[in-house]
Symmetry: C2
Subunit: 207 residues, 2 copies
């Protein structure tokens, strides 16, 4: 869903001006937004891809989420107040930053403002779904069950037995919060037992 759905471009400009929204552009593999960490903000991705990455004191890297065009993120939405987190672009990326207090506290009764709030509500409700999926996976106790749950969710979402990994296997292990080599081992067993087939980044479910 587009955050500016049902808002024409004149009103969109007006809205962004009223909210004192800032537009930023970043190139590939840039770590962004280190500066505004102490403010409470909501960000909207106009185009490109970002990853929210966590690196703990041991150096363990975990991909918290990968976001694309029209996804939103922000201090409250993505645990970004914690400074173990970084936001990194995967492509050339353009974003908009809106101050959260400004967004909520402003008393604007215009149609375009109300429509915008409603759009944000829909987007966030959908993003909560993704977090629930992640929790669903992480609560599985074995590596095998985490993998199968991950496959099930993607397969259901795309109505296909073919799963195209949106990132590397290394990243997948981070996402599932498991050891990479142990994951590779388990994938091998799943192949040997005839549950799946793997060709590069495409995994096919045979059940």
């Amino acid at each position: 869903m587009n955050p500016f759905y049902n808002i024409n471009s004149d009103y969109k400009s007006k809205l962004l001006k009223e909210l004192e929204a800032q537009t930023y552009e970043f190139s590939k593999n840039e770590e962004i937004l280190k500066k505004i960490k102490n403010r409470n903000y909501i960000g909207i991705i106009l185009n490109g891809t970002i990853q929210i990455i966590k690196t703990d004191y041991n150096g363990n890297r975990t991909i918290i989420e990968e976001l694309i065009e029209n996804d939103i993120f922000g201090t409250k939405i993505s645990s970004l107040s914690n400074n173990e987190y970084t936001i990194t672009t995967k492509d050339k990326t353009k974003i908009i930053i809106i101050d959260y207090e400004q967004l909520i506290k402003v008393n604007n009764q215009s149609t375009y403002y109300n429509q915008f709030i409603k759009n944000l509500l829909e987007i966030i409700i959908n993003s909560v779904n993704d977090k629930n999926d992640r929790i669903e996976i992480l609560t599985k106790k074995t590596i095998r069950n985490k993998l199968l749950e991950y496959f099930r969710i993607i397969s259901t979402k795309n109505k296909s037995k073919n799963i195209y990994l949106p990132f590397t296997f290394t990243d997948l292990a981070d996402y599932l919060a498991i050891d990479r080599s142990a994951m590779t081992r388990e994938l091998k067993y799943l192949k040997e037992e005839g549950f799946i087939e793997i060709k590069n980044k495409r995994i096919t479910l045979l059940y």
Copy 2:
């Protein structure tokens, strides 16, 4: 935050009527809402406590979340379309159910409606925070680190070294998605090593 913040009781009634909201009352330990599972809804807890509980095919029970007055839940917000999930009351509980499509699709430009949407937005943004915390914990690899992360989050939230468990140890194990007996063992080690002190449901951090 109250979902009806800044909406007086006349407008509140009007709003709920326009949205065809349903009010339900349940007694303690009732499993609720089995009937409306195929509709997409948002629920608001007026008073009481509910738990969203998941029981998988192995019979493993996991508390997904515990919600109280003014919290909201719903199909998209809480993975409730999956029928491994149940909602159970912990106390006498009163809730309101609003049809999601009705809420979003209706074209109502009244102030109270817009205020309500805005309130829901704020509530959901805050609830996303809780899910992030849960993910934070679940991505820790050892039982010890899961426990310490859980303690850290509660302690930070309440600005206190004393943590009062909001549920039983059995439930805590479910919440952390770990084996209960293994958790008890790890808590014993943490006590022996002088990191924590436990008295009934109060855990004191000694570091």
